[in-house]
């Protein structure tokens, strides 16, 4: 119980900071960041305590709707997500402390930052439908206001508009979901819902609505369209919070409904999350690979990771429905670990993008390059983030990827033929997504940080303040430690796994070393990151020592060779677009109608030849632009109704009355 008071006090501090920032102006706005950092630590410590010690804390506040009240509950699932969220809040607050107090602070951002953090924490605590939707909407509105903070830019306004529409659709779906869960008796408290699991037909509707509601917030394709516009439009540390953390709140919502409130699953519940997740994972990365804006690439990569997490959740549902507890635990461990890992490396990458934006004023890859020389520390941190997100060992992204592959490999053991035959497709698509992620982040890092600067701004970039380096460095360290000691983290997640799928990872800790990650049993699959890292370290040190002893040690600096034709102009380097060309040729032609055209001036003409690429966003064109045009056409037609004479309005009203009355007569 005192833990909940600490949570309440920390949330109060966040709201107080927001209120304080709403009245002060100028450099004093910076006060929100230390307060948010302290509050995040307090919240995180309580969450960690609840997660490790188990137990469920509940409270009921006498506010909210009459008869329902405002129920709060902190269980292991909420506590896990609390750790994810408050880690992100802490890192972004530290980064915020390094913002320039004169130039960067604005009353449009700083008051909303702690409010946004508080709203996300409140979603986790909510234990009835009203409290959940209230905090969910608070979170949506706060983040929307942060997106349109730079309201002078047309892009921000467009992103804000789209976000508002999609958030409204999502919340509407969630209202339907909770309505279905509460049933005709209207028991909106989660405890009441848990006690009365809805029937199969209702469950389908609830699951669909939850997938739409939470999927639109998390960026599941085809509901993702707002995300790559809105996340980059906000200031970078807020982008980090939205991409790294808010998408996790969306996943929390789905997990709370699908694994907790909805009762025991049927196996085919797993199909929608798996199918949408696989499509999201692959398409999200293809969008990312073809995009030229640093922050938008990161946002698209968030879409991909949310897809991967949904695949893992879908597999966990299927295994749980088949009572294959060990496999369900592996899939769920993959999902939880990926949620944690993604919050670390995506926050890190967005903060790195913020550092780049701050140092150069640009986020288009076409204008960056060579930053590894001018921003050495940011470059190291960003490299760690980029390698982690590409799921490369021994970093943390690979640990969750490994667990996910293990759970896919166990899918053929399920009795359903559909899932059997789907398993190779899931595995292949996830492998494709992993390979595309590596290509995407080699491209981002190679273009932005390596090579030679492509613009004046990039050539004169400077390193960011120390506290921002600390924020990025801390996250980078977490990525490394999470990679090496993933087995320890998974062991710590046992209470959440038990609550969600009935058991923790079997044989956890029974491996050859305490840090061996074991899926199923030690004879089947083991991954021991510290041993491998140790081997690689020994091998590279031995190599260095031997080479140092045996070889010629002199090193000469000289101009680049480039096969004999070096050109000093930085425009001769590969660009982001040219790096994407092989992938565009292979994957873009069918999925994005990619066209390349070359305009050659006639011989003798001195004008340069022009090369252009066109890509069509198929999802946008079919699912957004077309209905949008239809609505526009319809409203233009209906517009005529606005300019009728009073007689016609009276006739219309009379006709409507007659029609309604006759319908009523027929019905009765």
């Amino acid at each position: 119980m005192p833990d909940l008071f600490v949570q309440g006090a920390a949330l109060g501090a966040l709201v107080f900071a927001a209120a304080l920032a709403a009245v002060v102006r100028g450099p004093a706005l910076a006060i929100v960041y230390p307060i948010a950092a302290v509050a995040a630590v307090a919240l995180g410590v309580v969450d960690l305590g609840v997660l490790l010690q188990g137990g469920v804390l509940t409270a009921r506040l006498p506010i909210g709707l009459p008869m329902i009240g405002f129920h709060l509950r902190l269980d292991s699932l909420s506590a896990f997500f609390g750790i994810v969220i408050n880690g992100g809040v802490l890192a972004t607050s530290l980064y915020g402390m390094g913002l320039d107090r004169v130039k960067d602070l604005t009353p449009r951002v700083e008051p909303l930052f702690p409010l946004f953090a508080a709203a996300m924490n409140l979603v986790l605590l909510a234990d009835d439908a009203y409290a959940f939707l209230f905090s969910w909407e608070l979170m949506s509105l706060a983040s929307w206001a942060l997106v349109v903070a730079r309201h002078t830019s047309i892009d921000s306004r467009r992103a804000g508009h789209l976000y508002l529409v999609m958030a409204a659709i999502g919340t509407m779906a969630l209202i339907f979901a909770f309505g279905g869960l509460a049933g005709p008796s209207g028991g909106y408290a989660f405890d009441t819902i848990r006690a009365h699991a809805p029937g199969p037909m209702i469950a389908v509707l609830v699951l669909t609505a939850a997938l739409v509601g939470c999927g639109s917030k998390g960026g599941l394709i085809p509901l993702h369209a707002w995300l790559p516009l809105a996340h980059p439009a906000a200031p970078s540390h807020v982008s980090a919070l939205m991409s790294g953390v808010m998408t996790k709140v969306a996943i929390y919502g789905f997990m709370r409904i699908a694994f907790d409130l909805l009762g025991p699953p049927a196996w085919w519940w797993s199909l929608p999350p798996i199918i949408l997740g696989v499509i999201t994972a692959v398409l999200g990365l293809l969008y990312a690979v073809f995009d030229g804006d640093l922050k938008r690439v990161l946002a698209y990569s968030t879409v991909e990771n949310v897809g991967v997490i949904f695949v893992a959740l879908g597999l966990a549902l299927a295994f749980r429905a088949n009572h294959q507890d060990a496999a369900a635990a592996v899939a769920m461990a993959a999902a939880l670990l990926h949620i944690l890992n993604h919050s670390w490396f995506k926050s890190l990458l967005f903060l790195g993008a913020g550092a780049v934006l701050h140092a150069t004023g640009r986020r288009d890859l076409a204008g960056l390059g060579g930053l590894i020389h001018r921003m050495p520390r940011t470059a190291v941190f960003f490299l760690i983030g980029a390698l982690s997100i590409s799921a490369l060992p021994p970093l943390n992204g690979f640990v969750s990827e490994w667990l996910l592959f293990q759970s896919v490999l166990a899918a053929p053991a399920m009795p359903q033929t559909t899932l059997n035959f789907a398993s190779p497709a899931i595995g292949a698509m996830l492998a494709l997504a992993a390979a595309l992620a590596a290509a995407c982040f080699v491209r981002v890092y190679g273009i932005a940080f390596l090579g030679r600067p492509r613009s004046e701004e990039a050539a004169h970039a400077h390193e960011v303040p120390l506290i921002q380096q600390v924020a990025m460095g801390g996250l980078a360290l977490l990525c490394i430690l999470g990679g090496l000691f993933g087995a320890v983290i998974v062991a710590g997640l046992a209470p959440v796994l038990t609550a969600l799928v009935g058991s923790g990872l079997p044989n956890s800790g029974a491996g050859p070393t305490p840090f061996s990650l074991i899926a199923f049993n030690a004879a089947r699959s083991v991954y021991d990151a510290p041993v491998i890292a140790l081997f690689v370290a020994i091998a590279s040190l031995t190599t260095l020592a031997v080479v140092h002893r045996l070889s010629e040690r002199r090193t000469r600096r000289g101009p680049a060779w480039d096969c004999g034709f070096p050109d000093p102009s930085p425009t001769t380097q590969y660009t982001a677009s040219s790096f994407a060309q092989p992938l565009r040729r292979v994957y873009g032609a069918a999925l994005f109608s990619a066209r390349e055209s070359v305009v050659m001036p006639p011989p003798g003409d001195t004008r340069p030849a022009r090369f252009s690429v066109t890509l069509v966003d198929v999802v946008w064109a079919t699912l957004y632009a077309r209905p949008g045009r239809a609505v526009l056409r319809l409203s233009e037609r209906l517009n005529a109704l606005q300019f009728l004479s009073i007689r016609r309005y009276l006739v219309l009203m009379f006709a409507a009355l007659v029609i309604l009355l006759s319908i009523a007569t027929v019905m009765t």
Binding site: G369, G370, L383, L387, S390, L392, P393, W402, F405, Q406, L409, P412, F421, G427, A428, L432, A434, A435, A439, V442, R443, Y445, G446, L450, G451, P512, S516, R524, S525, V526, Y527, I532, F535, V536, A537, A539, S540, T543, L544, V547, S551, E552, T555, R556, R557, G558, P559, A560, W561, D562, C563, P570, T572, Y574, S578, F579, A580, P582, L583, V586
Partner: protein
């Protein structure tokens, strides 16, 4: 206990040392066979060792625009590939640290080496580096899904993803000719050709700009850095040959309980099979032409389709589908 421990440690050390020792010879065999079939004299079998020694004794020239990553990458790439090669069971299946990484982790270790190499290729800021890196990453996106399907088939057959476990399974269950495994074998061979930058995916002997992939990435390297990268690519060839041997021709490999005698037999068998595989690669390379880069999706796509067919057949033969 301690004597046992020391012997186990020695066996693991032998494996690490042997892959390194044999790698240049295997490449020498490939080149020699190719030369003989083309009726050229060809370089001596030991040319690989001489190449490495020559490179180690030359000074390194590093481009002005290169960063620390360019200089750090070669030893890391070499170490990652070396560790991965040492984890594939070669002469014995139950080596001391074989358990530390299963086949999924093994593929990922090679992926890490590839990502580093692609980054190093872009570090200097030349057009060739970017060209090689972008094509390499594209080929990886084609090869990795196929590899995943192969892993799935093997895991389904053997019930484990540990390479040693799969090898033990195939030793214990000899010569049951299964269509799904034959298809997997073809798929794995195609993936191995793509991963090792061999003909028809890439030509290790060309420096023609239109066709370069691997060579374009390492164009700026020289001296000891180049030696390490070359050695890493030799090791990668040995790794994939060992993988094919371990999965599809494990006869002669010593099981976990075998003593020194078993290991000795296993060692001889492994080297013989490795060199035979290298010779086959040489024959293959002279009998086919390099493909255009954008026809590769078709070629590697064959691996994907075969991988998929293999797993479907495995389902059918398992009797899941009534």
């Amino acid at each position: 206990m301690t004597a046992e421990f020391v012997i186990q440690l020695l066996a693991q050390g032998t494996q690490m040392f042997m892959v390194l020792l044999v790698a240049p010879l295997a490449v020498g065999v490939v080149r020699r066979v190719k030369a003989l079939l083309m009726r050229r004299q060809g370089a001596p079998l030991l040319q690989g060792y001489r190449d490495l020694s020559k490179l180690l004794h030359k000074e390194s020239v590093v481009a002005d625009s290169a960063s620390w990553l360019f200089r750090a990458a070669p030893s890391l790439i070499f170490a990652l590939t070396w560790v991965a090669a040492a984890l594939v069971p070669s002469f014995a299946s139950g080596l001391m640290f074989n358990w530390a990484a299963d086949v999924v982790a093994l593929v990922a270790l090679l992926g890490a080496a590839r990502a580093l190499l692609a980054l190093a290729g872009m570090d200097v800021g030349t057009s060739f580096g970017g060209l090689g890196s972008s094509r390499e990453m594209m080929i990886a996106t084609l090869a990795e899904p196929a590899m995943m399907l192969i892993v799935l088939t093997l895991a389904l057959a053997a019930g484990t993803t540990r390479l040693a476990g799969v090898a033990d399974f195939f030793i214990a269950e000899p010569l049951a000719v299964r269509v799904s495994l034959a298809l997997s074998l073809i798929a794995l061979i195609i993936v191995a050709l793509a991963e090792n930058a061999r003909i028809p995916v890439d030509n290790p002997t060309t420096h023609l700009e239109l066709t370069m992939v691997h060579e374009a990435m390492i164009l700026e390297y020289s001296g000891r850095h180049l030696a390490l990268i070359e050695a890493a690519s030799y090791l990668k060839l040995v790794l994939y040959l060992s993988l094919l041997i371990c999965l599809f021709a494990p006869f002669g490999m010593a099981p976990a309980t075998a003593g020194l005698g078993g290991w000795a037999i296993g060692l001889v068998a492994w080297v013989a099979k490795l060199l035979f595989g290298a010779a086959l690669l040489g024959v293959w390379e002279v009998s086919i032409a390099k493909m255009r880069v954008f026809r590769l999706p078709n070629f590697v796509g064959v691996a994907f389709v075969f991988g998929f067919l293999a797993i479907l057949l495995a389902f059918l033969s398992r009797g899941v589908v009534e």
